[in-house]
Amino acid sequence: MPSATRTRPAHAHPGLLLLVFTGGVAGTLLRSALATAVSGHRFPLATYVTNVTGAFLLGALLEVLLRRGPDAGSHRAARLCVGAGLLGAFTTYSTLAVETDLLVRGGAVGLATAYALGSALAGLVAAALGTGAARAVLR
């Protein structure tokens, strides 16, 4: 049976894009639900928790997939659906940026700084922890 000499890139693969779309819808709805559930704080807690959790999970997911084999077939599908799609849509940089700017506009510069830098730092730590956790489990 002939096989493709070159794998079609994901962005030109309708089936894979559909997986991205599906994951993206799910991630967006989860983010929205969390935002509704965790509201009413001056600190944008919902976005913060969403972003940090998503960073942790993506670190773990990508490490698991990396360990399991090359980025092809079901691995690539999982990466695109759950990684790029779900977790990519679950987390958001735009909301973080606008929320920070609005805090600054409202005069809460200290809170804005804590939120922005805190998010970036927590995101790095979470992504590292997620990666490390996956490694520890798969050892």
């Binding site: 962005h11 993206g24 967006t28 993506l58 990519g88 849509a89 679950f90 735009s94 606008v98 992504a127």
Partner: protein, 120 residues
Amino acid sequence: MTVALGLAGGVGAVCRVVVDGLLTGRRPWVFPFPTLLVNVAGSLLLGLLTGLVLFQGAPDVWRAVLGTGFCGGFTTFSTASVASVRLAEEGAPVLAALNALGTLALTLLAAAAGLALAAL
């Protein structure tokens, strides 16, 4: 509206993957420029949408569907964070820091620009 919001988010995610794919070509970037571009563009757009709603009385559904939905799905914090960690692990801590702080700084600026544009 929740349905529209969710669908818009799915479209945003697909757009992100397509942009990334188009900008990546054969060889992956060392520095995640496509993700940075997507995050900055999405932040500019969300700033504009939010400003239009807050300052110009645009319908809030714009912010929900196009903002929380599309821009939220389009931009990604997780990918940017993991990319920074990977860069650090691969022995490029300066690039890692540049990605982390640079993304933050540029998205904040872009969102501010969007808000300012809407206030005009």
